[in-house]
Symmetry: none
Subunit: 213 residues, 2 copies
């Protein structure tokens, strides 16, 4: 159970605040737009109208006591930047910000943000991975081009052992498990022989997995 302060209740900030509450955490939600605060009053337990570029206002609601603060102000970059800096100054342990461009991200990191999210850029990358998956049975993303995929054993490997297939040597992929008849062979040894209908659990770069199928 953690405590978060979320500044800026646009689509990103509101979605973040609601999800954190759903996961059982405490959220203090702040926005300078009184209409927005009114709209959310019955939705979020602690929502206050406040200008996050005003250090006294932030101090007054105890922002410095929070472990994590997230600045989700979009259009007004200066306000986003200042809110981030002020949360850092007041002693918030982990400060995260959203940004709209890579340049904004660099600046926010320079002034002390621990992490900066670029929702549109990341969503584009994530969709690319998902659309690229028609060969894959399922997929877990580990950032960048790397992930774990479950995919049907390619026909050319049926009857071959893992050592004979030399998958890591040829593709840089690790077979971490074989899913066979509903049960799992975890960390299969080099002499394990692949069978028709096997699902292979593969760890590595997605671009390598696409060459492999």
């Amino acid at each position: 159970h953690q405590e978060f302060v979320v500044v800026g209740l646009g689509r990103f900030g509101t979605s973040l605040a609601r999800a954190l509450i759903e996961f059982g955490h405490s959220v203090l939600a702040l926005d300078s737009d009184t209409n927005r605060v009114q709209q959310l009053a019955n939705d979020l337990p602690h929502v206050i109208a406040l200008d996050a570029t005003n250090i006294d206002a932030l101090r007054e609601v105890g922002v410095g006591d929070f472990e994590t603060g997230v600045s989700c102000i979009g259009t007004n970059f200066e306000a986003n930047l200042l809110a981030t800096v002020l949360m850092r100054q007041l002693g918030v342990k982990r400060v995260v910000a959203k940004a709209r461009t890579r340049t904004q991200r660099l600046i926010l990191l320079k002034v002390g943000a621990d992490d900066v999210i670029l929702p549109e850029h990341e969503a584009g990358l994530r969709l690319a991975r998902r659309l690229s998956q028609i060969e894959f049975v399922d997929y877990l993303s580990l950032g960048g081009d790397t992930g774990v995929v479950e995919l049907r054993v390619p026909a050319r490997y049926i009857g071959k052992s893992l050592a004979e297939a030399a998958i890591r040597q040829n593709y840089g992929l690790t077979v971490v498990a074989i899913h066979r008849d509903g049960s799992l062979i975890a960390s299969p040894g080099p002499d394990v022989r692949m069978q028709a209908e096997d699902e292979l659990l593969i760890l590595g770069r997605i671009s390598d997995a696409e060459r492999f199928v």
Copy 2:
């Protein structure tokens, strides 16, 4: 190797197009803004200035032959909607659109989009999961109660080796990789020592993983 048409080269569309190309797919990138097309001319192999609300223009560049089309027009919802409908009409097999609000999403689904992305909303939810240490970072289902989860290393294991932690003996879980500083230690050996901020890739029953966190 798949073929995609991407309409609208804002941050989302551009990021999508670049990632698909990086994964080895063919991408036809379209935008009505000639300046934008110029900017991207050296970046994307096939980028054309085109108004995606013009069915003849779309037909002329063979959009109907593509398996997947993505409409990434943000501000002008009518254009986004029309581009989606036209791609559907021209015979694109899978049509995906991005949207800014839930209402827009419902409308796009009604007119035939197969999938609609809300980048800001999804990014808020995803950040909530990531910041929420007891939640799984990501998850791949293998049927039944079994899966692969990526989760933050529990505090009690920081500084311990995998052998000392005896995770398989105590929980029946296999640590198939450690995700550390953006890189991956696949099949870590028994003497590998866990560090703060590590993400563990765990294979096994989800109920065991929940006891483990």
